[in-house]
């Protein structure tokens, strides 16, 4: 039995406190009026952040000539760049109803007010996604009756304990958006919908009650599977027959069907709808790859941590090797999906679609391409060597880079539509990450300490103990 050490508990609480302070700071410093917003950005420009791109993208009135000057080095994107200014984000609604004098300032105010919310949402979603990815990996192993992995089941069950609290936090944020506490989801604003034909066409799917009910169905289904599989897994330890194992196999296979549908819809609802004009048919897969690799990496990191503390004596370096192979393989799978999405949109160059990547390449250049290095080039080159996958510190180092890389991936999915070019990885963003990291560590290790780390009753345990590559 693992005991949750005071040291780790204190660390997680400290992380939560620091993170909470960071988030509070973010919310308190968000501007309340247009004047404050303008003043903040004026300061921000002095810091060298935002810069010319911001002016080009968001001064909506002299849009044509500025956009031309802006796009002269890539003339083939010209039309698309124009469209960007008309369609991008929620600037549009404010353009069209053209009553107030300071559209730019008002737009900016919304973005800056969104910023702490988006920081909170990105981090909340990211850690929920790790637990969900781990749950999917666990179900795959159960349904495939994998022989190598039972030694790791208790670690996976520990990680998935975070799913319910994590998903409920996300749900609360979504519900607050539905009650107009923030403008993360512009289609929730009736004022915006009234002036937007495209969103009007989607109201049948994108409406607040339906959105929240769907969210509850997803979360309910995932949490129910997680509850029963954990229950059967623990019951199997005491059982004389393998009926619990068989039940677990059956519900896992059923869950995977439920999961791939709800995961896909969840990614449309919770991420893609932040940008309600844009759509991508493989978005669900892309988010899935991201959560799968983050989940597997987290399993590897926690396994190595527990092993370094003297637990999990049945886990040998072949298990770590296999997790390393999964990290390597799914990283490439992620890149494959990322590129498939990017290339088709880049090639067809349809204004409606291509704005998505233009804002990301122009305003988010460093995180956008940096993420590719962290999530693809780095794990590709480091984990290619078979022997390196057995070296703990290499797995830990690569794992941390991959985890941060996928945080940036989620950041890139959510931030551009929420805050435009006003992004910054500052106190609120780091605070959000640390807060949920602390909560994650607290929940996960508490759950791991509740049951023996060795699932003795699993019929494949013998195979897993002898597993060698």
């Amino acid at each position: 039995m693992y005991t949750f050490t005071n040291k780790l508990r204190n660390l997680s609480i400290i992380l939560m406190v620091i993170g909470f302070l960071g988030l509070t700071y973010g919310f308190l410093t968000a501007p309340n009026t247009v004047e404050q917003a303008n003043a903040m950005v004026a300061d921000g420009h002095g810091d060298g952040h935002g810069g010319d791109h911001g002016a080009g993208t968001h001064d909506n009135h002299p849009v044509v000539d500025k956009a031309d000057a802006h796009a002269d080095d890539k003339h083939h994107n010209e039309t698309a760049a124009h469209e960007d200014h008309h369609q991008g984000g929620h600037g549009e609604a404010h353009d069209k109803d053209a009553h107030g004098e300071d559209h730019h300032g008002e737009h900016l105010l919304h973005q800056l007010q969104n910023k702490p919310w988006a920081a909170l949402y990105v981090a909340a979603f990211f850690f929920m996604m790790i637990a969900l990815g781990t749950l999917a990996f666990y179900a795959v192993n159960r349904a495939a009756q994998a022989g190598w992995s039972p030694a790791l089941f208790r670690v996976m069950e520990g990680i998935t304990a975070y799913l319910l609290p994590g998903a409920l936090i996300v749900f609360v944020i979504l519900a607050l958006s539905g009650m107009h506490f923030n403008h993360l989801f512009i289609w929730m604003d009736p004022e915006v919908v009234a002036h937007d034909k495209l969103i009007q066409g989607k109201v049948g799917f994108l409406n607040v009650p339906g959105f929240l009910i769907r969210a509850l169905i997803y979360i309910g289904g995932w949490a129910t599977y997680r509850y029963f599989s954990r229950k059967f897994s623990l019951a199997q330890d005491q059982a004389d027959d393998i009926s619990n194992h068989k039940k677990n196999f059956r519900i896992s296979a059923g869950f995977l069907v439920f999961f791939i549908v709800t995961e896909s819809m969840m990614s449309w609802d919770w991420i893609m709808s932040i940008d309600p004009h844009w759509f991508s048919t493989l978005f669900g897969w892309y988010v899935f790859a991201s959560m799968f690799v983050s989940g597997i990496t987290t399993i590897a990191l926690i396994t190595i941590y527990l092993k370094s503390k003297g637990y999990l004596e049945k886990v040998n370096d072949s298990h770590i090797h296999d997790l390393g192979k999964f990290m390597f393989g799914i990283s490439i799978f992620w890149t494959y999906l990322w590129f498939s999405q990017f290339m088709l949109i880049w090639y067809s160059n349809i204004p409606e679609e291509v704005t998505y990547f233009i804002t990301r390449i122009e305003d988010y250049n460093i995180p956008f391409f940096g993420m590719l290095i962290m999530n693809f080039i780095f794990p590709l080159l480091i984990l290619m060597n078979s022997d390196y996958k057995r070296v703990n510190y290499i797995i830990v180092m690569t794992g941390i880079v991959v985890i941060l890389g996928h945080y940036v991936d989620v950041f890139n999915m959510i931030m551009p539509s929420a805050v435009g070019d006003q992004w910054f990885i500052g106190i609120a963003e780091v605070g959000g990450f640390l807060f949920f990291l602390g909560l994650f560590i607290f929940v996960v290790f508490k759950e791991i300490s509740k049951a023996p780390l060795h699932a003795v009753g699993d019929p494949f345990m013998g195979e897993s103990e002898r597993f060698h590559y």
């Binding site: 890539k74 083939h76 590129f339 990017f342 290339m343 880049w346 090639y347 067809s348 160059n349 290619m384 078979s386």
Partner: protein, 178 residues
């Protein structure tokens, strides 16, 4: 001073073969070759063979394929015959790079796979029309054969092989081939 005599022991199970190989090597006999109908997991380690370097070659071949793809697409699409496809004029490799990624990927895989197979064949001294070296056709079906060099220790070796579970032991005089 190696003799031309070899002893061939036949086994009918891969686990028996694996433990036999281990005990033969413990007795410090030199195993010339093992013929099996399928790859036996762990046999290379039991035989004490050097680890294969083909993965390093695979990486190098992949890099060659990657470079060939870049040079090829640069010559074909940018230098030799630039075209305007879908409003994307081909005047710069880097700006058109996403369109070439599938080709870069495919040629990397193509070079790595084909050159690796060719390297493997050459390294194993296999080429078209080569006569089979296989001493016993049963090893292409369901039997495993271990070939050991003899140094006037026939009796001792035969006893050892019997003990390890060999189903058949034959003495062969090798001629011509070293």
């Amino acid at each position: 001073m190696s003799s031309n005599q070899v002893i061939q022991a036949l086994y009918d199970d891969d686990d028996v073969l694996l433990s036999a190989v281990k005990s033969i090597r413990e007795e410090k006999h030199h195993i010339e070759e093992v013929y099996t109908p399928f790859p036996v997991h762990g046999l290379d380690k039991a035989l004490g063979l050097e680890e294969t370097r083909i993965s390093i070659m695979a990486f190098i071949y992949g890099c060659i394929g990657f470079a060939v793809a870049i040079l090829m697409m640069n010559y074909i699409m940018i230098e030799d015959w630039p075209q305007n496809i879908g409003g994307k004029p081909s005047f710069s490799y880097i700006e058109n790079m996403p369109a070439f990624v599938p080709i870069m990927f495919e040629l990397t895989v193509f070079f790595a796979a084909h050159l690796m197979v060719i390297t493997f064949y050459l390294r194993s001294k296999l080429w078209p029309f080569k006569a089979a070296e296989n001493p016993n056709p049963l090893t292409t079906d369901d039997k495993f054969l271990v070939e050991i060099e003899l140094h006037n220790n026939e009796k001792e070796l035969k006893a050892l092989l019997k003990k390890t579970g060999a189903i058949d032991i034959t003495l062969i005089e090798k001629t011509g081939r070293s």
